[in-house]
Homo-oligomer: 356 residues x 2
């Protein structure tokens, strides 16, 4: 995993390109053999690289004066963005020059360009956006986070395969537990697509997956499964609700600490324990959403990431590329003829009593 | 609002009937003129009422030895549960004996029985489950929370009307802000149903509603709108994610406090501030989901509510009945011919550029 080459969009993200270069310098310390193809404005980047002597020899700087703006539409990115810093980073993966691309830029543009340049992997109908979330037990992943507003059972089953491969390569679990996000109000058995996906995953018992059934919203942060599978609409709402709640509770806690003189003193005394909690919840320590299901690896860093967050995204990229995530997904899809057959079959799966 | 009569299912809920009677006794102190019709096992309830002398004169006890179990299916409840404590409480509202019914029992059974006995209000296609949530600013409501897995634009617009009427009667806002829950990933404009519902609500400018557009998952707890409107699947997942995250963070915070001797001391010093935060987030202080859109009021208390939670549900019931929530919903639906016409029209609303 030492000789990974990473193509980097230097111009994407709220604090780019400064935090990009600073994040690369941080990652370089942990991964001294990693090489970087850095796409962006040469003059500006040369200035930044001059501040990082140790990083400089690992970087191959490629100039472009075009970049994707935060409010560019995906269609604009496709028409005019192929020679932008983002488009060129993805193209480097396509051309075999790099093992993985990273951008902290516009998510919609990144997904559109990645899908256009790298194309969808055989056996996958729709790529999905996946991201790790901090849980009570450690870390889980949720997908899809917004690439597909509506999904059928086959899409969800494919997400399960992709998410498990991600957990095996990045989080190092050899047989991840997988659950489908569903509702728990008694008379609702959820949507047909979810019940059918459960049936597909129960049948797919040759996969290196422990399918555990359904999980409700409160099961995400409880860490009830390593991989939480859902459609892109629900996944996006759930993740933003989780992150928003965690962030706002942090503010309420600070307010509680400031509420009296004795509680301010209390804060000073409890600070260390809180710092480790804050570290666990800090999005910068779980940075690196990935667009899975393409013929190439693309990591989406949080737009608001700092250098630390960008370094975490680089670490995720190295884990995925070094452990050959794409090969794992391909094998799981190919070696499970049963799943493939059922997915291709015209007959919808009957939802059994078991599934309800 | 003094002479409200409340029909109560004494046998529903994890800690029933003890917490039900204890909650009634608590509420009785605040609302001395409220009367209760109490349905359940006479011998058992008489024993409990003997412990609450001040409550006893306000209670009209009606015996039934039938009750709905937590795992009864809605279909079972409909077949066999009409003379259960839950069914009879709802029937008392239908018969005009009570102004509102409360149960902490099986949600699915309650929705099925309530819909069957009370019937859906004219102008409403589907009833919805609504519940208050604690936010950074105070309290908001979210609906639907699981009564309808999939919803069209008309359903969502009706939810907006019902949710606003709830906020006007229970939270005392005269012109609530309303937003539709949507996803924020740039290239996605959400589902057609959501864009169309936004169009309906923009046109309905005679309603006592401030329609503010879309809100993402993190906007719920931020209190970005008084009423958050969504389909029952997404609403259920979002609320459970929010509640689960808040609960688990509470556990992590306690763990942080126990992590060292100095932080334990810190806890003692900060305790008061934290207690008020915990009170704000305690579901028992925001108890009382309501099944809206029927010809009668039905409050669903949390199954795990304690006496304090049940008393909060009673308070919600009194606010709704005393401020004539059903009349408000009826007026808003009737006085907005524009909204009604559009809802009845066969032509789907075109999503404009503005809506995307």
């Amino acid at each position: 995993m030492s000789k990974i080459t990473i193509a980097i969009d230097a111009m994407g993200g709220d604090k780019a390109p400064d935090m990009v270069v600073a994040g690369m310098a941080q990652a370089r310390i942990l991964y001294p053999e990693t090489r970087f193809l850095l796409f962006g404005d040469e003059a500006c980047l040369n200035g930044l690289l001059d501040e990082h002597d140790a990083l400089k020899p690992a970087v191959d700087l490629r100039h472009t004066d075009k970049s994707i703006a935060g409010d560019d539409k995906p269609s604009q990115a496709l028409r005019r963005g192929r020679d932008s810093s983002m488009g060129l980073a993805i193209q480097a993966v396509k051309d075999g020059e790099a093992d993985v691309a990273i951008s902290a830029g516009n998510t919609g543009a990144l997904m559109a360009l990645a899908k256009f340049i790298l194309r969808t992997m055989p056996g996958i109908d729709r790529p999905a956006l996946i991201s790790p979330v901090p849980t009570l037990k450690g870390e889980s992943v949720v997908l899809d986070l917004g690439a597909n507003v509506e999904c059928d059972a086959g899409n969800l089953a494919q997400f399960a395969v992709m998410g498990s491969a991600y957990v095996r390569t990045v989080l190092g679990q050899s047989r991840p537990s997988v659950a489908l996000l569903n509702v728990g109000v008694e008379e609702l058995k959820g949507k047909d697509s979810i019940r059918e996906a459960a049936e597909l995953l129960r049948q797919a018992d040759h996969l290196p997956i422990e399918f555990t059934g359904f999980v409700e919203g409160d099961g995400i942060m409880a860490g009830e499964a390593d991989v939480i599978v859902t459609d892109g609409f629900t996944g996006n709402v759930a993740l933003k609700t989780l992150e928003g709640t965690a962030k706002l509770l942090g503010q309420l806690i600070e307010r509680a600490f400031r509420s009296s003189r004795s509680s301010k003193l209390g804060y000073l005394l409890s600070r260390q324990g809180f710092q480790s909690l804050r570290d666990h919840l800090d999005p910068n320590n779980h940075n690196g959403g990935v667009f899975l299901g393409l013929n190439g690896l693309v990591v989406k860093s949080h737009g608001g990431a700092n250098a630390n967050g960008f370094a975490t995204a680089i670490s995720t990229a190295i884990d995925m590329a070094g452990n050959d995530l794409i090969r794992l997904i391909r094998e799981d899809l190919e070696n499970i003829p049963h799943l493939d057959e059922t997915l291709d079959g015209a007959e919808p799966v009957q939802s059994s009593a078991q599934a309800s």
